[in-house]
Symmetry: C2
Subunit: 550 residues, 2 copies
């Protein structure tokens, strides 16, 4: 191995890369052409020996076809992975979309045993669906502890706000995932929960020293490593007390922690190297070399894959990186691929019941519903009927509408209030400004006409949003509407922190509800508790959720 | 045939129905669950003998799978059809999406020969893609004459504003479609072009008598029938001079016109029977019976298929409808299906070049681009560069955003002005109100902050929108911005009527452009003529469109 020449290296080094592809089949369907390679490039790179693909977008049937095609193009055995932390449906239409992990953590407070079972089923559901669609590696669990409510990028993705909840739930989740024959990935090492900036946009800086990390952030990583997690993903955060020069992904000191302090000997994969936190400061080739040199085994989404391969080959040939690093990483890759095979050898082959390829089984649907009904909160015990307001305003707040995955004209959040006489007004970051310069009267009421407001705020930590929209004065707006006697009800979908803050001062006569999840099913269940059914929505079961009211 | 009993009828009558299915595979993916049957219902109805399915939504790869599955469920040979008047991509992602027909009519004014060739290629492109995805019937051409600029539902879908242009272009289009082995459909008989209400929402009433129809509206139908159109679709319009009691779809007098006046002996299919114009006044079963009795051969989207079958069986058994009507319609159905076979017997089987199933061929892409570049208009000959405005406002107006098929965060209409320093504000019907109560100052400028406006208005006749948004005072708003010296440019995507009206009074120094098409490619080409490229959009060819400037 030590005497590898350039030609050997150009065969082997590509295995270290994980490149990004759309789950759709055609180039014209790519949602993010800047990041998603064209088919011609994918084909060329895979035949050159690139070892992994991360997939985003499309339907489950497209994903299944896509996986097959990508394997047929590949010269080496492939990792096919996806960021499906909240069920396969998070990225691929037709898969199960589950209540975000922080919702399970809320259940854990009251019913710890139940929550552990749910977390394991969460892993089983996600792992099963990933496998039948052709994936062999799920980039979950998130092991970050959401100890900063303003975290714009982790937040609802975390399995808790303290190390013990996160450890317990992620271990259970991971066990479920593994049981379905897919590899697991703990992220984002050494912890991305205590930041208030989004590393997709800029580099978060943390002041924690090693002691603090060992007391808090590292605990879940230790636990999932001890329980056999297959890979760990590094974070793009700068821990200036530990390594003032390099973000974790590029820092030998931080990555070494994972090997030495935690004793992990599996695959270490970087977070996407195209993220601004890295891209801004280092060139594409150089970032890949630095991460590899620092100890990463796999390089996720290098800015320019060919450049990354060449730069790493060069660094190995020049002696800047010892050949042993390559040997080590390739060995870890091999072992992980062998583990998938061994996991799967014991599993029955999945046979779809019908001539339709159904990824989401009836049991998955029931599970998804169960999670929603367990995680919803309705403040008033007695059933409030909001269906009387003629001429009311259904004011929806979402991050973005181009597209908005959980909202169409027929979604319950629009159709249920509409049937009850509310007209819809949709606020989003690209829309006409609904605010005015008045701290006590922040909503520009003249924009909305007459009527009482039914507020539905969809707000959670979303990558690329920059902040949690704490600049939108919803708390003051709610007070304003109350004072004008124009608030008929309120629902928060997402952030438990906003819910807690709003509910604290809200007049108890005002109907209010909370759901950590935002998808249509969750909207339907929440609104069924606030509105008397008019005529449609026959499909929704009348939901009993009094167990979980605050 | 005359002595058919109940059991014979329940075998035969289902053949008359065309039911609606989503092009997606799974029930959970349906966009309009109210209209799109569940798989269990589709399977049951097809095995019961239902003879046709209209498909909407999904990608071309899903469509191909879907067609296969539906055929496997069917007891009878199936019509598989779609409303793809503007290319397969209008309903199915991955297919070609073409400039709307009214854009070709505009080219026809200057270059009639060229336009006829384009219309034929339009048909070839659409017919080819429909066939390789498993369809055998394309519900086009629209033969309505758009002689009412305020028509909310036909408008850009029409092949012209006078009978001669419409006739010439639809014949050419139809020839192209037929050459690809799919059946054609002239719609909406006896003409839906001169209405100002949308029959999806209410019943349009027309005062035309037969003379007037013969002079204008009927001419294109006569011509395409003479050229061999395979089917004709009826309109949901009330022609009170001809039949004061029943809308065309249910009127023996009007439908008889098609047989007697025009001499058409092919398939007569209704427009969707679930449309409000019909649904409001007649029950589901009764509407189907009346249409069939009036002379329709196929019944599109009856409100309740089982009810429609039972009601027609009953009407036949009771003698309300003579058995000959059934015999006649089934015979026409048979002939049409035989025609598809004979058309296809001469066509080569399509072999996709790669392991990817590519519906849109390179030649289709070039054709789509050619149509855009021929149909774009830029008012100022000299290239205007709008890329200097720092802090400008890119104000986009669209009908709806949930979803908006032609707009994402990376669409040229957003990304190009953004790179040039414009911030995006998106106006749509569900958004916060941008208007104020002042005829001369209709835009509430305080909502937008400082800066010059770059206006992009996406506005065309869209079914279900109710009106052409003539209630939005864009003409006055443009004047307002001009008077405040805050208009840096304007683009209209869609209505040529709005373009004509705006351009008439616009100061000639203000850059302005028009495209009948709204899709991303069109946005890219239009904006390339207004903005100097900054760095991205490398994929867009520098477009020479000076030939077609006004």
């Amino acid at each position: 191995m030590i005497d590898l020449n350039q030609s050997d290296l150009s065969q082997l080094v590509p295995e270290l890369l994980v490149i990004r592809a759309s789950g759709h089949l055609f180039d014209s369907q790519r949602q993010y052409p800047e990041w998603e390679l064209k088919n011609s490039d994918l084909k060329r790179l895979l035949s050159r020996g690139v070892g992994g693909v991360i997939l985003v977008g499309g339907s489950v049937s497209e994903l299944k076809q896509r996986s097959k095609i990508l394997r047929s193009w590949a010269a080496k055995p492939l990792f096919l992975c996806a960021d499906v932390e909240e069920g396969l449906g998070q990225r691929f239409i037709g898969g199960s979309l589950l209540v975000p992990p922080l919702g399970i953590a809320q259940i854990h407070r009251k019913y710890p045993e139940k929550a552990l079972l749910l977390a394991e089923k969460y892993g089983i559901c996600t792992g099963f669906q990933a496998r039948v669609c052709g994936l062999n590696w799920v980039l979950a669990p998130v092991c970050d502890i959401n100890n900063n409510p303003n975290n714009p990028v982790i937040n609802m993705r975390a399995w808790g706000e303290d190390p013990f909840t996160v450890s317990a739930l992620t271990i259970a989740f991971q066990r479920g995932l593994s049981s379905q024959g897919v590899l697991t990935c703990a992220k984002h090492f050494p912890g991305h929960g205590d930041t208030s900036v989004d590393s997709h946009l800029e580099l978060p800086v943390l002041d924690h020293d090693l002691n603090r990390l060992q007391e808090i952030e590292l605990l879940p990583f230790k636990e999932v490593v001890a329980s056999g997690v297959d890979s760990v993903m590094s974070a793009h955060v700068l821990l200036r007390q530990i390594d003032p020069n390099y973000p974790a992904t590029l820092s030998p000191i931080v990555l070494n922690c994972l090997r030495e302090e935690i004793g992990f000997d599996g695959l270490l994969v970087t977070d996407a190297l195209v993220m601004e936190a890295i891209k801004k400061s280092y060139g594409g080739g150089e970032a890949a070399v630095m991460a590899f040199k620092a100890g990463a085994d796999l390089l996720m989404m290098p800015e320019n894959p060919d450049e990354a391969i060449d730069a790493i080959c060069q660094a190995l040939l020049s002696g800047r990186i010892p050949m042993e690093r390559l040997q080590q990483s390739l060995q870890r890759r091999k072992q992980a691929l062998a583990k998938v095979d061994s996991l799967r050898s014991t599993l029955p082959t999945y046979k779809a019941k019908d001539d339709l390829f159904e990824v989401e089984r009836a049991e998955d649907q029931l599970f998804a519903e169960e999670l929603i009904s367990l995680s919803i909160k309705v403040r008033n015990q007695e059933k409030k009927d909001l269906g009387v307001s003629q001429g009311g305003i259904n004011l929806l707040r979402v991050d973005g509408v181009l597209p908005c995955s959980f909202l169409t004209q027929t979604s319950p959040a629009i159709s249920v209030p509409q049937e009850a006489g509310y007209r819809t007004v949709l606020c989003h970051q690209l829309g006409v400004n609904p605010w005015q310069d008045d701290l006590n009267e922040p909503l520009a009421l003249d924009r909305f006409g007459n009527g009482s407001f039914f507020l539905q705020l969809f707000l959670r930590g979303n990558p690329f949003r920059g902040d949690l929209n704490n600049r939108e004065p919803w708390v003051a707006a709610v007070r304003q509407l109350e004072q004008h006697n124009r608030l008929s009800g309120i629902v928060i979908y997402g952030s438990p922190y906003l819910w807690d803050e709003l509910i604290r001062n809200l007049d108890s006569s005002i109907p209010a509800a909370y759901s950590p999840a935002q998808m249509q099913q969750a909207q339907g269940m929440v609104l069924a508790s606030l509105f008397q059914p008019v005529n449609s929505n026959k499909d929704l079961p009348p939901q009993k959720i009094s167990d979980f009211t605050d």
